[in-house]
C-alpha cells in the first residue's frame, strides 16, 4: 500500500506534551479506508503492523473514508518515522509521502514513543514535570495582542491571563495555541546523560561541555532553529562559521524544496494581507490548514472578509487539491483528488490547458479527468486575484522541489491572463525566519556548510537528514526543533551514538538521543525576539513574563565565547556575534 504522513489536529495539540501517553496515542494511529480493513480481515480499532525496508512497527487502525483504498495516512511523529527510510533522493527531504509499505494484521500491542526512541539507542527522560520557571513582575495580569509562537500564521491577537506567575488562560487562539501557552512541563535545569539515566548539572558545566564537543568535532552539525527567534539564529550562524560546522534548519525536511524551486524560477509571493483583501480564488494544494494552521482560513482566506471582498465566504472560491479528502477539502468549494505522487503531472496538464493545448492531454491525468481539469482551469482564469498556498504534500512527495517549481510555472502561466501569487504554507512560527537570517548572513537559506571556512550550500549533501544517515556527523546541536520525533529512524540512531546537545524549553523526543539537554526560556512567554511570518513579514515577539533561565540568544553567546576561548581567539562579547543593536542585547544585561 501507499503511505502518506502528515499533520493531524490532535497530533499538533500534543506537540508540547510529547512525553505524555496521549502523544503516543495520537501519533500511533493509522487512517485506513474501510474497504482495506475488510480486505485485511480486521475491524476498526484493531492493530496492524506496517513494514518498510527500514523496519516495522504497530499502529491502531481508524476507519476513514477520506482516503482512497490502497492508501493509508499516518500522523507525523516518531511512529511514522520509525519506518521511514532516510533516502532523500539527494534533495534533503525524505519520502514522508508516497512511500510503499506492507500492511498486515497483528496481535502485537503498540509501544510508547519513548520505547521507540530507546530502540533507536536513546534513554527516556520521564522524570515528573518540574513546572514552569517564569516570573510575572506585575503580578496577576491580562496581556492582549500577544503573538502566537506556534505555526506560520503567527496570529497577533492572543489574550493571555496570568495568575501566580503562570499562564492560566488563553483567548482567541486555536487549540494548538492554547496547548502551547498552557504547557507547564518545562525543564528547569540542564541534564546530562549518565549510564542508564539522567543527572542534573549546572549551566556552566553544560556550556563548557558543549564548547568542548564543538571544538573537537570534524563534522559538527547545528540543526533546528525554527523554534527560536532571529537573534539567536544569527549567533548560531556565527558559531557554525567559527567551528567550521554545518548549520541547517527544519526547512530541509519541510519547505526547503519550495526554496529550491524558488531559486530556480523565482517567487511570485505576496503578503497574507493582500490575500485577505483581494483574493477571490484561493487554492490550497497539498496542505491542510485546518490541521496545521487552524486559523489560516478565518484570518486570511475562506472566512476572512477583506477590503475588496465582503461576505468572503460567498465571494471567494476555495479549491483544494489533495490526495485525501481533508478537513479543509470538506469545507472548500471544489475538491480535486490527485493520485498520490501525481501532482507534477497535474501542474503540467494545467499549464498546457491554459496555453490552449489541451488536445495533447490523455483522458485523465493522475486520476483527474481532463474535463475536470479544464473546468477548474476556467475557474482559475476567472479570478481577479488568485493565490496558491502550497503545502508539504508537494515538498515531501516524489519529485519534491520539482513539484513546487511546476506550481510556480503554472502561476507564471496564469499571470499572463490575470494576477496570481503563491505562498508556501510554512509550518513553524519562525521557520521562514531561519531562511531569512541564514540568507542575510551566509547567502544561503539552509544547509550551509562552513567546513572550508566559506559558505557552501547543497541540499542532499549538506542537509541534516542526509548527513546523519550517512553517519558523517560527529557532534550535533539541536535547537528549536525535534528530530527525535520528526527524523527517520536511521538519523536518530546516529544521533544516539555521537555527542548531541539539545537546547529546548521542554523535554522532547530528541532528549532521549542526546547526551545533554540545556533548557532555555521560551520565546513569546519569557523570551523575546524577531519572527518571520509565513509571508516573510517580520514581527517582534514580546515576552509576557520575566525569565529565570537564559534565552537561546544568551546561551548561544556564552557558547560562542567559550569556543573562542578554546581557539585562543581574542575575547569579544558573544553578544556581538549576532545582530548589532538588536533590542535583545541592548536592553537586557
Amino acid at each position: 500500500m501507499l503511505m502518506n504522513s502528515g499533520r493531524t489536529y490532535k497530533q499538533g495539540e500534543q506537540l508540547y506534551y510529547k512525553e505524555s501517553p496521549e502523544y503516543s496515542e495520537q501519533t500511533s494511529l493509522c487512517f485506513i479506508n474501510p474497504i482495506d480493513l475488510f480486505t485485511l480481515g480486521i475491524e476498526e480499532g484493531e492493530n496492524i503492523e506496517i513494514k518498510t525496508s527500514t523496519g516495522n512497527t504497530v499502529f491502531r487502525t481508524v476507519a476513514c473514508y477520506d482516503l482512497v483504498p490502497g492508501e493509508i495516512f499516518l500522523p507525523c511523529g516518531p511512529y511514522a518515522n520509525f519506518i521511514l527510510p532516510p533516502n532523500t533522493h539527494s534533495t534533503g527531504a525524505p519520502d514522508f509521502k508516497t512511500l510503499e509499505v506492507e500492511v498486515r494484521p497483528t496481535e502485537r500491542e503498540r509501544v510508547s514513543a519513548w520505547d521507540l526512541l530507546e530502540y533507536e539507542g536513546g534513554t527516556r527522560y520521564d522524570a515528573p514535570p518540574e513546572g514552569c520557571p517564569t516570573i510575572s513582575l506585575e503580578g496577576d495580569k491580562t496581556v492582549t495582542d500577544v503573538l502566537c509562537p506556534l505555526c506560520g500564521c503567527v496570529c497577533d491577537d492572543i489574550e493571555l491571563g496570568i495568575r501566580d506567575h503562570r499562564i492560566v488562560s488563553c483567548q482567541n487562539g486555536c487549540l494548538l495555541c492554547n496547548a502551547k501557552f498552557l504547557a507547564k512541563n518545562r525543564l528547569i535545569t540542564p541534564i546530562k546523560k549518565t549510564v542508564g539515566g539522567w543527572e542534573k548539572v549546572s549551566y556552566e558545566e553544560a556550556i563548557e561541555y558543549t564548547a568542548d564537543v564543538l571544538v573537537a568535532a570534524e563534522r559538527p552539525l547545528l540543526f533546528g532553529w525554527s523554534g527560536t527567534h532571529g537573534e539567536a539564529q544569527c549567533i548560531g550562524v556565527s558559531i557554525a562559521e567559527l567551528i567550521g560546522g554545518v548549520i541547517d534548519n527544519c526547512s530541509s525536511e519541510c519547505h526547503g524544496p519550495s526554496i529550491m524551486a524558488i531559486q530556480e524560477v523565482g517567487h511570485p509571493g505576496c503578503t497574507l494581507g493582500q490575500v485577505r483583501n483581494r483574493a477571490d480564488v484561493v487554492i490550497y494544494w497539498g496542505s491542510n490548514p485546518i490541521a496545521s494552521h487552524p486559523r489560516h482560513m478565518s484570518r486570511y482566506s475562506t472566512y476572512a472578509d477583506g477590503f475588496f471582498l465582503d461576505n468572503s465566504f460567498r465571494n471567494r472560491t476555495v479549491i483544494v487539491f489533495d490526495v485525501r479528502k481533508t478537513e479543509t477539502a470538506k469545507v472548500a468549494d471544489e475538491f480535486v483528488r490527485v493520485r498520490s505522487g501525481g501532482d507534477y503531472a497535474v501542474f503540467s496538464a494545467l499549464r498546457a490547458i491554459i496555453q490552449g493545448k489541451e488536445d495533447v492531454l490523455p483522458k485523465s491525468v493522475a486520476g483527474v479527468a481532463k474535463e475536470e481539469l479544464i473546468r477548474i482551469s476556467r475557474i482559475m482564469l476567472g479570478a481577479k486575484f488568485g493565490t496558491f498556498f502550497t503545502g508539504i504534500g508537494l515538498t515531501q512527495s516524489r519529485g519534491k522541489y520539482k513539484n513546487v517549481r511546476n506550481a510556480i510555472e503554472l502561476v507564471d502561466e496564469l499571470n499572463r491572463h490575470t494576477k496570481y501569487t503563491l505562498t508556501p504554507m510554512r509550518g513553524h512560527w519562525n521557520v521562514y525566519g531561519t531562511n531569512q537570517t541564514f540568507t542575510y548572513m551566509t547567502g544561503y537559506p539552509y544547509a550551509v556548510d562552513f567546513s572550508h571556512g566559506v559558505a557552501y550550500y547543497n541540499p542532499g549533501e549538506t542537509s541534516a537528514i542526509d548527513m546523519l544517515s550517512r553517519e558523517e556527523v560527529d557532534a550535533c546541536i539541536i535547537i528549536g526543533s525535534d528530530p527525535g520525533a520528526h527524523f527517520p529512524r536511521a538519523c536518530n540512531e546516529h544521533l544516539s551514538r555521537i555527542p548531541t546537545i539539545v537546547i529546548d524549553p521542554f523535554p522532547i523526543m530528541s532528549t532521549a538521543v542526546a547526551t545533554m539537554h540545556i533548557p532555555v526560556a521560551m520565546t513569546g512567554v519569557d523570551a523575546e525576539g524577531t519572527a518571520y511570518r509565513m509571508d516573510a513579514v517580520p514581527l517582534w515577539v514580546q515576552k509576557v513574563m520575566e525569565p529565570t533561565q537564559p534565552d537561546d540568544a544568551r546561551l548561544l553567546s556564552r557558547i560562542y565565547d567559550a569556543v573562542r576561548k578554546r581557539k585562543g581567539m581574542p575575547q569579544i562579547k558573544g553578544e556581538d556575534a549576532g545582530v548589532f543593536g538588536s533590542p535583545v542585547f541592548s536592553t537586557e544585561k
Binding site: 533522493h89 493520485r339 501525481g342 503540467s348 496538464a349 493545448k357 495533447v360 549533501e461
Partner: protein, 258 residues
C-alpha cells in the same frame, strides 16, 4: 608517462567526507608539495590521507595517470576542473567526481555517488557500476547543467540524472531514477533500461528510452514511430514538453501513464 598511485589510508572515522578537489593530473606535474585535502573541517596534507607513489615523469598533464585505490567511496570532488590526463578509480567514488571537467578521462570501476560530472564541459567519464542522483546535472538554481563531453554509466543512474542537460552526451545502460532529463535544454541522453516521468519541462535536446517509461508525463505530443538504431527496437517519437513550449525530442519504447 607519469603514474601517480594514491592509496587511501585507513581513517579513524571513515564516514567523515574527504574533499579532494586537488586530485587532478595537472597538479602532479607541477610537483607541488603542498597538495592538501579537507577531512571534514580540517585541512590536511594529501599524504595524511593517501599513500602516494609516483613512477615516471611527464611534462604535460596529458601524460599523467592518477590511480586511486582503497576506500574511496567518501572522497568527493576528485577530478574537479580537470582539463586533461587520466584518473582511474579502482573502487567507488564520492560525490561531485569530475565537476566542471573540460577534458581528459575518468574511469570508475565501482559506483559513483551523486553529482557525477556536474556541469561538465568536455572529456569522458565512464562508470562501470551505478551512478547516484544528479549524474551530469547542474547546480541548485542553475539554468544549465552539463554542456559537453560524455558520461557513460554501465549500471543504473539515480533520480534527476541529466537534469538541465544542455550539451554533450549521457548514456545509461541500466535504468534511471525518477524525473531524469528534467529541464533538459540540449544534448543527447540515452537510456537503455527503464525510466519514470522522464524529461519533464524539457525545452530542447534528444532523449531515447529503449525500455519502459512509467508515469509518462501527459504533456508530450506524439509525432510518429520509428526504429531505433539499437537493434531495431521500435520507438514512439514525442515532442515537448508542451507545458513549457518545449521543442525537445523524446523517443520511448513503451510507457504507462500517470
Amino acid at each position: 608517462m607519469m603514474q601517480v598511485m594514491l592509496e587511501a589510508k585507513e581513517r579513524k572515522n571513515p564516514n567523515v567526507p574527504i574533499e579532494a578537489e586537488e586530485i587532478t593530473p595537472a597538479h602532479f606535474i607541477e610537483n607541488r608539495q603542498d597538495l592538501s585535502v579537507w577531512r571534514g573541517n580540517r585541512k590536511v596534507p594529501l599524504e595524511e590521507v593517501f599513500e602516494i607513489t609516483i613512477n615516471g615523469e611527464a611534462s604535460s598533464a596529458e601524460d599523467v595517470e592518477v590511480i586511486l585505490t582503497g576506500e574511496s567511496g567518501k572522497i568527493k570532488r576528485v577530478g574537479e576542473y580537470m582539463e586533461s590526463g587520466i584518473i582511474r578509480i579502482e573502487g567507488d567514488i564520492g560525490m561531485h567526481c569530475g565537476n566542471f571537467m573540460s577534458g581528459g578521462t575518468i574511469e570508475i570501476r565501482g559506483n559513483a555517488d551523486a553529482w557525477l560530472g556536474r556541469e561538465m564541459r568536455g572529456g569522458t567519464i565512464t562508470c562501470h557500476g551505478n551512478a547516484g542522483d544528479y549524474c551530469g546535472s547542474g547546480y541548485r538554481g542553475e539554468k544549465r547543467g552539463m554542456r559537453g563531453g560524455t558520461i557513460e554509466v554501465l549500471g543504473n543512474a539515480g533520480d534527476f540524472t541529466a537534469e538541465t542537460l544542455s550539451g554533450g552526451t549521457i548514456i545509461v545502460h541500466g535504468n534511471v531514477g525518477d524525473l531524469s532529463g528534467v529541464e533538459m535544454k540540449g544534448g543527447m541522453f540515452t537510456i537503455h533500461g527503464n525510466a519514470s516521468r522522464v524529461c519533464g519541462n524539457m525545452t530542447g535536446g534528444t532523449c531515447m528510452v529503449y525500455g519502459t517509461v512509467t508515469d509518462m508525463l501527459p504533456t508530450f505530443r506524439k509525432v510518429g514511430t520509428r526504429e531505433g538504431n539499437n537493434g531495431g527496437i521500435a520507438l514512439t517519437e514525442f515532442t515537448g514538453d508542451v507545458a513549457n513550449r518545449g521543442k525537445g525530442r523524446l523517443f520511448v519504447h513503451s510507457f504507462t501513464r500517470a
